[in-house]
Every structure is written in structure tokens, then in C-alpha cells.
């Protein structure tokens, strides 16, 4: 009798053309590969050193300039190198200011149900929200894909996360992700996939699922995958040119671990410095002074994130004196929506700094660097020491609503203080 398969085992079986099971070392055809300006310049060097001459399939490749500003070195020289290579080989480029690679992969319909996505950036796992096996790789792996269109992978075991119940006021996907980071730990899903199931997971909108898939890598996961449903197909309408092959897990699939999380009992969470799994409730950290707040990144830079933040800021009467609020939409599509509905205008009127779409201040390569000894609260995914370019700063991670509450008061504040309404 054969045992059923997980979503990962099914997708990787299709992509390798064999019966792939957890633990197998396989070679897979990659549907879409992506490189950023943080990884592609090195990949081009590897490509040349490996003796690469032509790119295997340029239609399945995309380069994104999201980590560095296009106005100053080293972005300028790295971008020039990427543009020359891309033009020579016919590879699509998303230029500086178009947005964060992971958001663009999703918006442009490259992250597809049943697909295999390899991105040369750890947060490439974001695409799992659309039922793709999406994983992060380095520059050398990207170079190998440029040459042969394939990648070797070890088929991962899978942790099944079952979400039940309904989240209370001001409990958002980021709070779910932080609670999972606390339960699973920063390495608890290492070499493994996380599959998200249960009524609490089906209830999440596509934009919300992206947050959980994105944060899966903070638990060490190779992929963070949702089943496909009507919400997935509705999002893809008009975006995906290709016919998709959604993949479900078999009822008797083998999981390494099963975790059930009741969302009804969940309160707003915060990751304290300097580890993503150093998580407690917002209530436990109340009053901690905050001097800089960042709204944006591939975790919390979508339209609804800014809507949730704006709502809190309006209820609170604006930004507290002495707090710097940086707003960075994840893409031009998000930015356009926020312009249309007046969100950016209102945030700007409150004194927020609006930055062009991209990674922004998240990893210290562009945007505003925190001041010495500053406490920063961010909708980002990582709070490692020196992550934002200043080793003396302390970074707290929370939902857009909790970040907005901190911006409004200058200290860690429970967003439920500003009304119970949830979008």
C-alpha cells in the first residue's frame, strides 16, 4: 500500500518526473527563477566562471532591482551589470522603484498553483501562498539555473499547521506568524515545508496568506504552502497567463509534526530584539519607547497593511512627537492603489516619509538607517542586530496596527486601545 503525499511531494514529483518522497535527492525543472540586485551580480560572476554562454530559458527568468538605490553606488554599478546581462540574454528586468521581488512575482502571475519557483533571496517562500513550491536559493544556484534550468533539491518533510477559530480585534496575520515563530522556533522547521490548513487558514485572504508564507523562512522552512481555493483563483484572474495545476495534500499524507493554533485565543504579538522567535504579547512589552516606525517590506507592505495602520493613526490623532514614520509600499501597484484611495496623502499630511517601492530600510542597504541606540518598530520579518544598518539600534517586529499604535504614542501600545474595529 502506498502512503499519500504532501503538497511538496506532489509538486516535486511533477517537476522531477519521478515518485518523489521526503528525503529523496532529486533534480527538478524550475518554472520561474528570480534574482535580485542583492544576488544577481554574483550569479553573473558564477555564470561566467562556470563557463556559461547562453541562458537556458530567458522567459522563465526575471531580475528585480529592489535592495539598492539606483541613485548611488554600489547600486549603480550592480544595476548596470544586471541590465547588460539581461539585455544580452533577453531576460525581463523590473527596475529600481518597481517594487520588492516577492511582491512582483506574485502580482505578475509567476507564483502559480503547483509551480516550482526558485528565487535568489530567502523570502522567495512568499509565493507559497498561491500553492506554489517557492523556495530561496543563493547566487551560485541561480547561476546553475541560468545555465541548465534545473535545480537539485532534497524533498523536504512537512509540518502541518492547522489554524482554527476566528481572530479577535486587531489580531492580524503577522500576529499569527509571530506566534508560530514562538511555538516552532527560529530553526524548528529547518529543511522542512510548512503547510497551512484548517478553517482559520481558508478564511485568510490571499494578501494575508502571503504574510504567513513569507514568515515561514523565519522558522527555517524551505517553503510555506497553502492549498489553492477560490480566493487563489480570484487573485490570479487577469494575472496568470498559464493554465495552473493546483495541488492538494492527500488525506493520508505523512507529516513530521502537526500544530494546531486557535486564533480566537490569540492576542497582538511582538518579536523583541534581536531574534524573530523572541516573541511575547504586546501587553508584555507595553510602554517600551519607540523612536522610528517602518511600514512596508515583503511582509507588511501591501495596501491593506497601510489601511490598517492609517485607521489606528486617524483614531489616535496622528504621529507622536519625536517619532519618525517611514512608509514604503511593496510595489508600484500597491503605491498606485494607496494614491488613488488617499492613504498616502493622509499619511504624508501626518508627517510620514513616503519612500519609493522596494526593500527600503529593511536590511540596511537602502532607505533610512536608524539613529544610534534607537528603538525601531517595523512590519518587517527580521530583527537581527545591525539588520537595518546600525548595530546599536533595537528592532521590534509587529503587525501594521501595532506599529501604527507605537507611531501614534511613541511607545509600544496595544492597538485595541484605539477601538475594536477590524477591517
Amino acid at each position: 500500500m502506498t502512503v499519500g503525499k504532501t503538497i511538496s511531494e506532489k509538486i516535486l514529483s511533477m517537476k522531477s518526473g519521478r515518485d518523489a518522497r521526503a528525503g529523496d535527492l532529486i533534480v527538478c525543472k524550475v518554472d520561474h527563477a528570480m534574482g535580485t540586485d542583492g544576488s544577481t551580480p554574483m550569479a553573473i560572476d558564477y555564470f561566467e566562471e562556470m563557463g556559461g554562454s547562453r541562458v537556458h530559458d530567458p522567459d522563465r527568468l526575471v531580475f528585480v532591482m529592489d535592495h539598492y538605490s539606483g541613485a548611488e553606488p554600489p547600486g549603480t554599478s550592480m544595476h548596470a551589470k544586471m541590465r547588460v546581462f539581461a539585455a544580452q540574454h533577453g531576460i525581463r528586468v523590473h527596475d529600481v522603484g518597481e517594487g520588492i521581488s516577492h511582491q512582483l512575482m506574485v502580482e505578475s502571475g509567476r507564483a502559480l498553483p503547483g509551480g516550482l519557483l526558485a528565487g535568489a533571496d530567502s523570502h522567495s517562500v512568499t509565493g507559497g501562498a498561491l500553492n506554489a513550491f517557492a523556495t530561496g536559493i543563493g547566487s551560485s544556484d541561480l547561476a546553475a539555473i541560468l545555465i541548465c534550468g534545473r535545480i537539485w533539491l532534497k524533498v523536504p518533510r512537512t509540518i502541518k499547521v492547522v489554524l482554527t477559530g476566528r481572530p479577535g480585534p486587531h489580531v492580524y496575520p503577522k500576529d499569527i506568524a509571530l506566534e508560530l515563530a514562538r511555538v516552532i522556533g527560529a530553526d524548528g522547521a529547518a529543511y522542512q515545508t510548512i503547510e497551512y490548513h484548517g478553517p482559520g487558514s481558508a478564511m485568510l485572504d490571499l494578501e494575508d496568506r502571503l504574510v504567513l508564507s513569507n514568515m515561514s523562512v523565519e522558522m527555517g522552512a524551505k517553503a510555506g504552502i497553502f492549498p489553492a481555493d477560490q480566493k487563489t483563483f480570484a487573485y490570479l484572474e487577469g494575472r496568470a497567463p498559464e493554465k495552473t495545476l493546483p495541488v492538494e495534500a492527500d488525506a493520508d499524507a505523512q507529516y513530521s509534526r502537526e500544530i494546531t493554533l486557535d486564533l480566537t485565543a490569540l492576542a497582538p504579538q511582538v518579536a523583541r530584539p534581536h531574534a524573530v522567535d523572541n516573541v511575547g504579547t504586546i501587553r508584555e512589552a507595553l510602554g517600551t519607547p519607540i523612536q522610528m516606525v517602518c511600514l512596508g517590506t515583503c511582509t507588511g507592505g501591501r495596501a491593506r497593511d497601510f489601511h490598517q495602520a492609517l485607521k489606528i493613526l486617524l483614531a489616535a490623532g496622528g504621529i507622536a512627537a519625536g517619532v519618525r514614520l517611514i512608509v514604503t509600499p511593496a510595489s508600484t501597484e500597491v503605491e498606485a492603489e494607496l494614491r488613488r484611495d488617499g492613504t498616502l496623502k493622509r499619511l504624508e499630511a501626518m508627517g510620514a516619509t513616503i519612500a519609493p517601492p522596494g526593500c527600503g530600510a529593511c536590511c540596511g542597504t537602502a532607505g533610512t538607517i536608524p539613529k544610534d541606540d534607537a528603538n525601531v518598530m517595523s512590519t518587517a520579518n527580521r530583527n537581527f542586530k545591525a539588520r537595518m544598518g546600525n548595530a546599536s539600534a533595537s528592532i521590534y517586529l509587529a503587525s501594521p496596527a501595532s506599529c501604527a499604535a507605537a507611531a501614534a504614542t511613541g511607545r509600544i501600545t496595544d492597538p485595541t486601545d484605539f477601538g475594536e474595529a477590524r477591517q
Binding site: G38, D121, S122, D187, T365, R382, K385, A386, G389
Partner: protein, 172 residues
């Protein structure tokens, strides 16, 4: 194929992320690992880069190389003359990048090893053996599949590709 290495143990904690190995913001200066190595592990210990000697081995706790997939976090370690990292577990992107560049990531228990110990490593298809003479320790590491051993003994993915040792399907 057999790989043997000997070196001085340099102890690090758990969850050493790639930003600690080399800060993302330093990449603004250069991507050249031979220039970046002066900042190696600066967020963990500002004196580390000066004290490191070619032939040293990194001996860490769990989840080494977590965080960003940036590959300079591997090349900067190699540029400092370090050929292997020992840890109970690695972040998978670091593990891949290490193998592809010829830095040997050895999954093994590291709790008994002390700072400065002379550590001997021997690995082949059947397994990895780590010896710490001063502590009388013989530790078994998780074995590598044959294809990984051949990539590592070629010196990484670049020479592996260059020497034409792979077939065109990148197949093990």
C-alpha cells in the same frame, strides 16, 4: 573520495544569522570577500576578524547561517581561510551556498568542543568523523550523499561545472 581537514576551533553561539557573519549594509562597500573579511562576524565580536587565522574552523550552535540567503556570507568565511563549519544544524540556504562554494558544512553535535581546540575532520561517502584530541572526543557527523562529496572535493559548484564533471541534467 575522502576529505581530511585539521584546524583550530573558533566557538560561536546558536542562530548565527548571515547578517552577523557579514552585515548586509557592508555589501554597499564591496562584494569582494577579501575586502569584506575585515568585518567578519563584527556584530557578534568586533575583535573576531583580527583574531582569525587561515585554517581555523567555525564551531557553532544550531541553525548556523539563518536569515538572508546572501552568498557573501559563505565566500567571506572562505576568504578568511576557513574551510569548514561544524554545527548541529544549518539554515538550508547557507548549507547549499556552502556546498556550492566548497565550504564544508558538517552537521554534528558540537557541545563538547572548546575554543582553540585542535579538531580533525575526515569525511567520505560513508560518513563524517570529527576528533577533538584534547577532550578525547570522537563525534560522528551526518554523512553527505555521493554527489555532494564530489561537488565538495571539486572545490564547489563552479569547478564542478567547469571540469564538466556534471552531466547536462545536473543529476546526481
Amino acid at each position: 573520495m575522502r576529505v581530511s581537514i585539521e584546524g583550530r576551533a573558533r566557538l560561536l553561539g546558536s542562530d548565527i544569522n548571515t547578517d552577523y557573519i557579514i552585515s548586509s549594509s557592508r555589501k554597499k562597500e564591496t562584494l569582494d570577500p577579501h575586502l569584506l573579511k575585515r568585518y567578519l562576524l563584527e556584530s557578534v565580536d568586533p575583535a573576531f576578524a583580527n583574531s582569525v587565522m587561515p585554517g581555523d574552523l567555525l564551531v557553532a550552535g544550531k541553525n548556523f547561517g539563518c536569515g538572508s540567503a546572501m552568498e557573501v556570507a559563505v565566500t567571506v568565511v572562505l576568504a578568511a581561510g576557513i574551510r569548514a563549519v561544524l554545527a548541529p544544524s544549518f539554515a538550508r540556504t547557507y548549507y547549499r551556498n556552502a556546498i556550492n562554494n566548497g565550504l564544508i558544512p558538517i552537521e554534528c553535535a558540537t557541545t563538547g568542543i572548546r575554543e582553540g581546540d585542535k579538531v580533525r575532520i575526515a569525511l567520505d561517502e560513508t560518513g563524517a568523523c570529527i576528533e577533538d584530541e584534547a577532550r578525547g572526543l570522537v563525534i560522528a557527523g551526518i554523512p553527505f550523499p555521493a554527489v555532494i562529496i564530489s561537488i565538495l572535493s571539486a572545490g564547489g559548484l563552479v569547478p564542478y561545472f567547469k571540469n564538466g564533471k556534471h552531466d547536462d541534467r545536473l543529476c546526481p
